[in-house]
Structure formats: structure tokens, C-alpha cells
């Protein structure tokens, strides 16, 4: 099972809503989170190596989440599950709620492996994978840059601050994909056409017994401060005196 998230496409100008409650998302293009793309690619590769039987992609969100599911199907996933979350619920949907949904689906689908992107690039939470593993009481291999399925478990090479850490975990397990795990394939045109025939099931969080109430409240969203103009100085003495004036030295 691999989970993907839609996020606001990176090349756009992001604008804060006038009431500072969030970011404008209306009419803005959403694409698959890059780390989720890597997760989908890894899942498809495992299936191609005949190490996994079926790749199911899950996305939680409004109608347009279906587009990202279709892209994943065109990359080689077998079927999709769209968990419908819209409106207010979608605005407050966070890692805790999503991981509850994924845990419920994992049990329902009898999944052996859940692969997610390590974090979404809109909120940078980096929590969903870890929370999902905790809820299921499964081992987790996060920040994976290399994954190999062996007879007695999964060997995961993780990217950590100090370098690379290699661990072995038993299955079923949760993995989160880091940047260097693989290079996602393009969906080819013929595969896009074939993906049309693949099924996407519609599910509501209530059907899974999941409570979407958020424990977090966003108080305020602000843009980063405008960059102030700098000043040019002629000599080092000038620089030191200006720094002294500004109380920095």
C-alpha cells in the first residue's frame, strides 16, 4: 500500500489568505508530493521484482485527489482507494488523522507493507509514517534511501544526520521514502490509457471508524518577513562603525 498526498505545486506564488488563517488554495494546481512519487515508484519496483503481489495507492482529500491516484495508477499501481475528505475536515486534516485512516485501511486490506513519502512539502510535518507505524504497532524504516526485502525481514538504509544507518525490520512494516531512494518513472502514454481501466474505490473516514477531529488549531499564518534592502560600504572601518551603530557589535 502506498499513500500519496496532493500538495500545492512548487513553482507557484503562494499567498497567505487575507484573514491569516492559512494559504490560498482555490484554483491552485495540486500535484503529487515528490516524496510520495518516490514511494509509489518503490512500490511498483517491488511488484516488478515479484516481491509484492499488489500495489494499492491511497489518497485522502477532496475530489481532485483522484487525479493524483490516476497518476500513480499510470505509474504501475494496481488499484486506488480515495478516502473522501473535503471542506472543513480537509482544512484540518493532519498527520494524526491520516495515520488513523491508513492504519484502519492497512488492517482492512491486510497490507504487508506501507510506503509513504517521508514528509509532505507543504507542511513538512514528517509525522504520518511514524504515527501510522505506532498505531499499528509495526516497525518503521524512515528516511529510506535503500530498501531490500530479505528472507527474514526488510533491510533499510536510512539517511540520518550523521550519515547512513542500516537497520533490519520485520514485516509487516512502514517505510518512508527519502529523496535518494529512486528516480520516479514517467507514466507512459499507453500506461495512462491502461490506468483508466484500473479501479478506484471511494471510502469515507466514517466507514473506517475514524474520527477526524483535529487536536491542533492554527492560530495564524504569516508570510516570511520581506527582505530588507542592504547597504553598501566602502571600507572595513565603515562596516565596523555601521555594525556598532546598529548595536550588533
Amino acid at each position: 500500500m502506498s499513500k500519496k498526498k496532493s500538495f500545492l505545486a512548487i513553482e507557484l506564488q503562494i499567498r497567505v489568505k487575507p484573514d491569516h488563517s492559512g494559504v490560498v488554495t482555490d484554483g491552485v494546481k495540486h500535484s503529487m508530493n515528490p516524496f510520495c512519487e518516490i514511494a509509489v515508484e518503490e512500490a511498483v519496483k517491488l511488484k516488478e521484482k515479484k516481491l509484492m503481489k499488489e500495489v494499492v495507492v491511497v489518497s485522502c482529500g477532496p475530489q481532485q485527489s483522484q487525479e493524483t491516484i490516476r497518476t500513480a495508477l499510470a505509474m504501475g499501481a494496481d488499484r486506488g482507494i480515495h478516502v473522501e475528505v473535503s471542506g472543513k475536515d480537509y482544512e484540518t486534516l493532519g498527520p494524526l488523522q491520516v495515520s488513523k485512516i491508513l492504519a484502519a485501511l492497512a488492517k482492512k486490506e491486510d497490507a504487508q507493507l506501507i510506503i509513504l513519502g517521508k514528509q509532505a512539502i507543504d507542511d513538512d510535518c514528517n509525522q504520518t509514517g511514524q504515527m501510522t507505524a505506532a498505531l499499528l504497532d509495526w516497525p518503521q524504516g524512515t528516511f529510506a534511501s535503500e530498501v531490500s526485502l530479505e528472507k527474514d525481514g526488510i533491510k533499510v538504509v536510512r539517511e540520518i544526520d550523521g550519515g547512513l544507518e542500516t537497520i533490519k525490520i520485520s514485516t509487516p512494516a512502514v517505510l518512508t521514502a527519502d529523496l535518494r531512494l529512486n528516480t520516479p518513472r514517467y507514466a507512459t502514454l499507453p500506461n495512462i490509457m491502461k490506468a483508466k481501466k484500473k479501479k478506484i474505490a471511494n471510502v469515507k473516514p466514517a466507514d473506517l471508524g475514524v474520527d477526524l477531529t483535529s487536536r491542533l488549531e492554527v492560530l495564524r499564518v504569516d508570510e516570511p518577513p520581506q527582505r530588507q534592502a542592504g547597504m553598501k560600504v566602502e571600507t572595513v572601518d565603515d562596516l565596523v562603525s555601521k555594525l556598532k551603530d546598529a548595536g550588533k557589535v
Binding site: 487525479e67 514517467y186 507514466a187 507512459t188 502514454l189 499507453p190 483508466k196
Partner: protein
């Protein structure tokens, strides 16, 4: 017809083409333009993704895309580089006579191989002495036994040096009084047939990585099985291809124009003169507004012409309008983009001078701007005559 109500599948095709264009083609376009080297690595990748040879019917291994769908893809690829896109589009032009007029055996043999390997083909009609007046071509094909023996000279053949096979138009009836509709024959010719001499790669103003050459035929023998339909049917086949290929060519010109518009707009929002972004000076914003008008209209024109032929209707009128208009505005918009960039626009470090050089050919190939006007006026008057 729903110009901006694309189906989900069309949107996905467009997204794939756009991603490929931005991530694979744009980063290398300037280098290929400078070197003139044939962009085979890009073409191969595009082929692997199914972005080329879209028109080949499904029975022969292709995707049987509608002309509309192909145009969506073409516009996205052309946005990145029309030199590369022309090399890919030349496949469609070469294949079209076979798609519309080939028998099952010919389609299996010559279209089938295009989907099995990344091969190129070419449309071989123009000669040094005959461009717009196709009926004046001199390449001769004479029936000898079970073959035709061909002698003549072709010129400006896109993919001439890279093609695996050509669609060739040659004169089979020597009688000067014989009407064009009966005097010419369309052939499929394997490029490795003895007697074919491929000329040097021509150095052109723009679309420089595309391979354009002269080709000489000296006693080239073509088996009679490679005649399309029958002897004498060639002219209609050669011309009929255009109804299907002019919409994509118009789409290509539109892609170039859209690129020019995007580059000029982004520049105008950044560059400052007289204390503000130049986009805030009306002289500049009006230039951009007119560029935008032209791009939108060109898009609508090619979409209409593609849709008409997909509906099974004769689209000659719309195809000519789309090609003529898109070719003209591509040149205007690219020139305007250079103007918006000012001194920087003239410089090769900025992307717009290439667009201006690349745009010119759109008023020339696939029927000159003047020939399009001839066709349009003929079709136009045809509606009024009783």
C-alpha cells in the same frame, strides 16, 4: 466543442508531455541549437513514453490518438523546443500517407516497425525546383517489370538523413497534359535502397537541431508492392495528409508562441525602468496583451481544425486557417518577445532570440503562408458559389 473542457485522460496526456518538455527538453535545447546535433537521446526518451507516433492505429501497435489529442501533446513539446518537436512531427507527416492510404500489409510493415523501435521516417515531396507547385515536381518513376525505377532530386527533407523509410511522390505519367490528379504516384521507399544519396545536413536559421537534407535518387528500384493505392493516385494522398498534419503544425507554432509569451511576461514583471517593473508601463503591457490575444486565438484555431477532422469532416478550410494564423502569430509574438526583453532579447544568453529564429519556418513549411491564403480563399468562395 469543449476547447477547455479536456477529459481527464487528455489532461493526463498533456501533463505528461508538459513534464517531459520542461524537465527533459528545455534544459538541453540551447545546446542542441548551438551544435545542430540531432537530438536522438530526447527523441528516444519521448518514444519510450509514447509521445511520438501517436497517430499510428492501435492494430499496428500505436495508440490511435485523435488529432486533437496529438495536438495537445505537440503544443507542450513545441513549448520546449520546436527543433526537437519538428524532428518528432516529421514522423507523423511521413506516416500520414500510409495511415490514410496504405493497405494492411504496408501498414503492418512500415507503421509496425515504428512502434517496435525508435525509428524516424520522412515525407519526401519538395524539390529544389518545386516547393509550392507540387504538380511541377520532376522526379520520375518508370515502371520496369515488377519495379519502379526512380530518378530525381528532393530537397529540404526533414529527417532526410535519419529516416528509415520515406514517403516519396514521383511523376509516373510523362504526358504534360495529364492532370495532376492522375500524373503522380505515392511510394514507400526504404532508406537503404541502393541509389539513394543523402545530401549534407543543411545549416538553417532556426530549428537547427532538426535534420534537413537534399536527397538524390539515382536508378532507385521500388517494388510495386510499395505503391500507395495505385499508380496515379499520389497527388491526392500527398495533399490529403496535410488535413491531418496542419493542425499539429499549428499547435507547434502555438507552443512556441506560448513560450515567447511566458518568457516575455516573466521578464516584464522583473525588469525595472523608470522606477517600476516594465510590465507596469502600458506600452509594454499592451504588447503583452496583444501577444496573449494571438496565442489564445491560435490555440482555438488549431483545436477547432483538429476537432473537425476527428469528427470525420473535411477540415481543409479550418486546417489552413489554423496553420496560416498560428505561423504568422508565432513570428509576431516571438519578435515582440525579443522587443520586451530589449537588449537582452537580442542576446543568445536569453531564450527569446532562438524563438524568433525558430518561428520563421512556420510561415514556410507545410504549405507557405501564401499557399494557405490560396487554399482559404478557394474554400471560402466555394461556400458562396451556387
Amino acid at each position: 466543442f469543449g476547447a477547455d473542457k479536456l477529459t481527464d485522460q487528455q489532461k493526463e496526456f498533456q501533463q505528461l508531455a508538459r513534464k517531459f518538455a520542461r524537465e527533459e527538453m528545455i534544459p538541453v535545447a540551447a545546446a542542441y541549437d548551438r551544435s545542430g546535433e540531432y537530438p536522438f537521446p530526447i527523441i528516444k526518451k519521448a518514444w519510450e513514453l509514447g509521445l511520438i507516433n501517436g497517430h499510428i492505429p492501435q492494430e499496428y501497435g500505436g495508440m490511435g490518438l485523435s488529432i486533437f489529442d496529438s495536438c495537445l501533446i505537440t503544443e507542450e513539446l513545441a513549448y520546449a523546443c520546436t527543433g526537437m518537436q519538428t524532428a518528432m512531427e516529421a514522423n507523423s507527416l511521413g506516416q500520414m500517407p500510409v495511415i490514410i492510404a496504405g493497405n494492411d500489409a504496408q501498414k503492418k510493415k512500415y507503421l509496425g516497425r515504428m512502434t517496435e523501435e525508435p525509428l524516424m521516417c520522412a515525407y519526401c515531396v519538395t524539390e529544389p525546383g518545386a516547393g509550392s507547385d507540387v504538380a511541377n515536381i520532376k522526379t520520375r518513376a518508370v515502371r520496369v517489370g515488377d519495379d519502379y525505377v526512380v530518378n530525381g532530386q528532393k530537397m529540404w527533407i526533414t529527417n532526410g538523413g535519419k529516416a528509415n523509410w520515406y514517403f516519396l511522390l514521383a511523376r509516373t505519367n510523362p504526358d504534360p497534359k495529364c492532370p495532376a490528379g492522375k500524373a503522380f504516384t505515392g511510394f514507400i521507399v526504404d532508406a537503404d535502397t541502393p541509389g539513394i544519396q543523402v545530401g549534407r545536413k543543411e545549416m538553417n536559421m532556426g530549428q537547427r537541431c532538426s535534420d534537413t537534407r537534399g536527397i538524390t535518387f539515382e536508378d532507385v528500384r521500388i517494388p510495386k508492392e510499395n505503391v500507395l493505392i495505385t499508380e496515379g493516385a499520389g497527388f491526392k494522398i500527398a495533399m490529403g495528409a496535410f488535413d491531418n498534419t496542419r493542425p499539429p503544425v499549428a499547435a507547434g507554432a502555438t507552443g512556441l508562441a506560448q513560450r515567447a509569451l511566458d518568457e516575455a511576461t516573466n521578464y516584464a514583471l522583473e525588469r525595472k525602468t523608470f522606477g517600476k517593473a516594465i510590465a507596469e508601463h502600458q506600452a509594454v503591457s499592451f504588447i503583452l496583451a496583444e501577444m496573449a490575444m494571438k496565442v489564445e486565438l491560435a490555440r482555438m484555431a488549431y483545436q477547432r481544425s483538429a476537432w473537425e477532422v476527428d469528427q470525420g469532416r473535411r477540415n481543409t478550410y479550418y486546417a489552413s486557417i489554423a496553420k496560416a494564423f498560428a505561423g504568422d502569430i508565432a513570428n509576431q509574438v516571438a519578435t515582440d518577445a525579443v522587443q520586451v526583453f530589449g537588449g537582452n532579447g537580442f542576446n543568445s544568453e536569453y531564450p527569446v532570440e532562438k524563438l524568433m529564429r525558430d518561428a520563421k519556418i512556420y510561415q514556410i513549411y507545410e504549405g507557405t503562408a501564401q499557399i494557405q491564403r490560396l487554399i482559404i480563399s478557394r474554400e471560402h468562395f466555394g461556400k458562396y458559389k451556387k
